[in-house]
């Protein structure tokens, strides 16, 4: 049995890792909630965003957090354009096509990154990369504590945007009933693209939060996206609160089961929950009744 101190550290570690999972799941669930498609290019987009942070740090000396000023609008624009110019036209109104198009995009992005950056694993060294906040005998990694607060802030902003702004209302309208939304004059194509852009922008933030302590190679996004899918199902497809709570929850589950069953078997915890949710509450914790 582990001492309470170690258990507490494991839970905090789980919350810190889970917050980044939550942000990645947030982008995924938003796109699902509105466009009703699963974006298979999510992982590759995250990888691309992480490389963008890496390049901005290496070439322009930008701090990963400052880099968000460039990457967040950049990825929003990219996401908007991809949905508007590639995914939308290629789908011809069939969701099956969208699935394949995003899968194709994932392959293209991953291999373009592989050709450009080669397969080396890279990381950046920032002055605060090894800084810690000392709480009693615990050392909490400063960049990861920052990540928790940024994720909470992003989730709050996103929720406010959807609840209060006109565009947010339009997004919700399209999510509920796109034909009706189109009838009252909402440009559904535009709303789809905005949503896709928001999903990509979430990844830009996640990339900046990850890079100070993590590493990047052309496949790294996949490590996160499988977990993000689980979180989306757990929290309820399309639910923002669900993604946030689900992400934190999965982070803690992974951390504790890793501690007790070993890192390899610990992954079972995540997928056990995935199966249980599908069995007993297929709509997810916060999902609307189908």
């Amino acid at each position: 049995m582990y001492s309470p101190e170690i258990l507490l550290t494991a839970v905090l570690n789980g919350l810190m890792t889970g917050s980044v999972y939550a942000l990645i799941a947030l982008g995924l669930t938003l796109v699902y909630g509105v466009l009703h498609i699963i974006n298979f290019a999510h992982g590759a987009t995250l990888t691309a965003a992480m490389f963008a942070v890496y390049v901005l740090h290496g070439a322009a000396g930008l701090d990963p957090y400052v880099a968000m000023i460039v990457t967040v609008p950049g990825l929003f624009a990219l996401g908007y354009a991809v949905q508007r110019l590639v995914i939308g036209p290629a789908s011809h109104g069939d969701d099956g096509n969208i699935l394949l198009v995003t899968l194709g995009l994932a392959i293209i992005i991953e291999n373009a990154l592989l050709a450009w950056f080669r397969s080396d694993t890279r990381s950046i060294d920032v002055p605060y990369g090894f800084s810690v906040i000392e709480v009693g005998t615990l050392f909490l990694s400063l960049p990861r504590v920052i990540a928790v607060f940024v994720v909470l802030l992003v989730a709050l902003l996103l929720w406010l945007f959807l609840a209060r702004s006109t565009t947010g209302q339009a997004i919700r309208a399209v999510a509920k009933e796109k034909t009706g939304a189109a009838l009252v004059g909402i440009d559904v194509g535009h709303i789809y693209a905005v949503t896709f852009g928001l999903g990509a922008a979430c990844l830009a933030v996640a990339a900046s939060l990850l890079m100070p302590t993590f590493l990047v190679n052309p496949r790294i996004g996949n490590a996160f996206v499988l977990v993000a899918f689980t979180i989306v199902v757990l929290g309820g497809m399309g639910s923002i609160a669900g993604a946030l709570v689900g992400g934190l929850f999965i982070g803690v589950v992974e951390s504790l089961s890793g501690l007790f069953m070993g890192e390899s078997l610990g992954q079972i915890g995540i997928f056990l929950i995935f199966i249980l949710v599908l069995l007993f509450r297929p709509t997810g914790l916060f999902g609307a009744k189908a």
């Binding site: 582990y2 990369g129 810690v132 302590t213 052309p218 490590a223 890192e263």
Partner: protein
């Protein structure tokens, strides 16, 4: 991804075209090129290793072609048929089948144990001579496949040597280390290593406090670091691939966890990797590794290293190993005097090739295993990777205890 590349890059093309006017008047009818297959995982999880392996093979092929090709075959140049194993055994086997179709005379490479197990077996059906570049699992040479040769040591030899060296280094320092925690990736390579270490550490007077497995890729190594802190071992013995080990070393530095005596890696993906050393000099400092490493005393080593670094890559052990394996194969083709696969296999089996750049003597194969192959110990010291043991190859003294 391109299925075939000629292995010719702009630089070597320029060099070749510069040499052309001299060679052209004499050689009118060029003998047919000798096709050799190079299999490496250059996409997928193992792409970093695969790319460096390919580079080593390219350097050797360019060098052979520059110095007159295979002389026994009238100066026939070597043509590389490259195959991407896509980091999995199925990918490797598919490439063997394709290479059989293209008529290669032999294959070099594979890198990872699971890939090598599958590719050597596929190649054996066609009697294609196969030289394994890394693939440390001892199953590879234990199946009695006549076509399969491994130039480098398997993990049985590596573990034994690593622990003998550890005992020697520990004894010389007054036995500061008694306990160890083993950290390993949970695939064929890491788990196999962990089993061997668990069996052999107690015999040598070390107590294994715990064996911690982790998956590849891992998103977070905090829990592993946490358990290491709770166990407070003298030594940490990690066998992981690059990303996970870097993550662990960084997390440990951040959490201010230092093993009492040091980190003694066995076949680690990062501990003798210059990228890690350059990017995190503090986290990397004094980490020891028992691994493949080129012989720093051979003049050829510096030449190959310069050629590799001219392409903008770091010096990884995959480069000298693949360079040496291709040179070994060329020597066998030379002695066989033929592209007949069975004759090449016979020539490999009888090989006493000494012109490689690893710290081994002339090759001597027994059941396909090069019996003289040995790993050596390296240590990160002041931003460089030094060879610290055995003494006869060393270019630095061990820092032990390293904490």
């Amino acid at each position: 991804m391109p299925k075939t590349t000629s292995g010719i890059r702009r630089r070597s093309l320029l060099a070749a075209s510069a040499a052309l006017p001299l060679a052209a008047p004499h050689v009118r009818a060029q003998p047919a090129a000798v096709k050799i297959g190079i299999i490496q995982p250059v996409t997928g999880a193992l792409a970093q290793d695969g790319e460096h392996g390919r580079l080593g093979a390219e350097i050797a092929i360019n060098e052979i072609n520059r110095t007159g090709g295979i002389k026994a075959l009238g100066g026939a140049p070597i043509q590389m048929v490259f195959g991407d194993a896509r980091s999995n055994p199925e990918g490797g086997v598919a490439e063997v089948e394709r290479m059989q179709g293209e008529g290669v005379v032999a294959i070099v490479g594979g890198f990872a144990s699971p890939i090598c197990l599958a590719t050597t077996q596929a190649a054996s059906r066609y009697d294609i001579p196969y030289i394994v570049d890394v693939g440390v699992s001892d199953q590879i040479t234990a199946r009695g496949l006549k076509n399969t040769f491994r130039f480098a040591p398997g993990f049985g030899t590596v573990t034994r040597t690593a622990l003998d060296n550890l005992v020697a280094i520990n004894d010389a320092a007054g036995k500061p280390a008694h306990t160890a925690v083993i950290v390993h990736e949970d695939g064929l390579f890491g788990s196999g290593m962990a089993r061997l270490l668990n069996a052999q550490l107690p015999e040598r007077g070390f107590r294994v406090l715990e064996t911690i497995a982790h998956p590849t890729p891992s998103r977070d190594m905090s829990n592993v670091a946490l358990r290491i802190r709770a166990l407070a071992p003298d030594l940490i013995i990690p066998s992981s691939y690059y990303g996970e080990f870097v993550l662990l070393a960084r997390t440990m530095q951040q959490q201010r966890i230092r093993p009492k005596v040091g980190i003694y890696a066995v076949l680690n993906g990062a501990a003798s990797n210059f990228r890690f050393v350059r990017e995190f000099p503090e986290a990397a400092n004094h980490i020891m590794d028992c691994n493949h490493w080129a012989d720093p005393r051979k003049p050829k080593t510096a030449e190959v290293r310069a050629a590799a670094e001219a392409t903008g890559r770091f010096w990884l052990y995959n480069i000298p190993l693949n360079y040496s394996c291709v040179r070994l194969l060329a020597d066998a083709i030379e002695r066989a005097g033929s592209t007949d696969r069975v004759k090449i296999i016979e020539a490999l089996a009888a090989s006493t090739f000494a012109d490689h750049i690893m710290p081994y003597g002339p090759t001597r194969f027994e059941n396909g295993q090069n019996t003289g192959a040995r790993p050596v110990n390296t240590q990160v010291q002041g931003g460089d990777i030094k060879l610290i043991f055995p003494r006869e190859f060393a270019d630095a003294q061990p820092v032990f205890p390293a904490a």
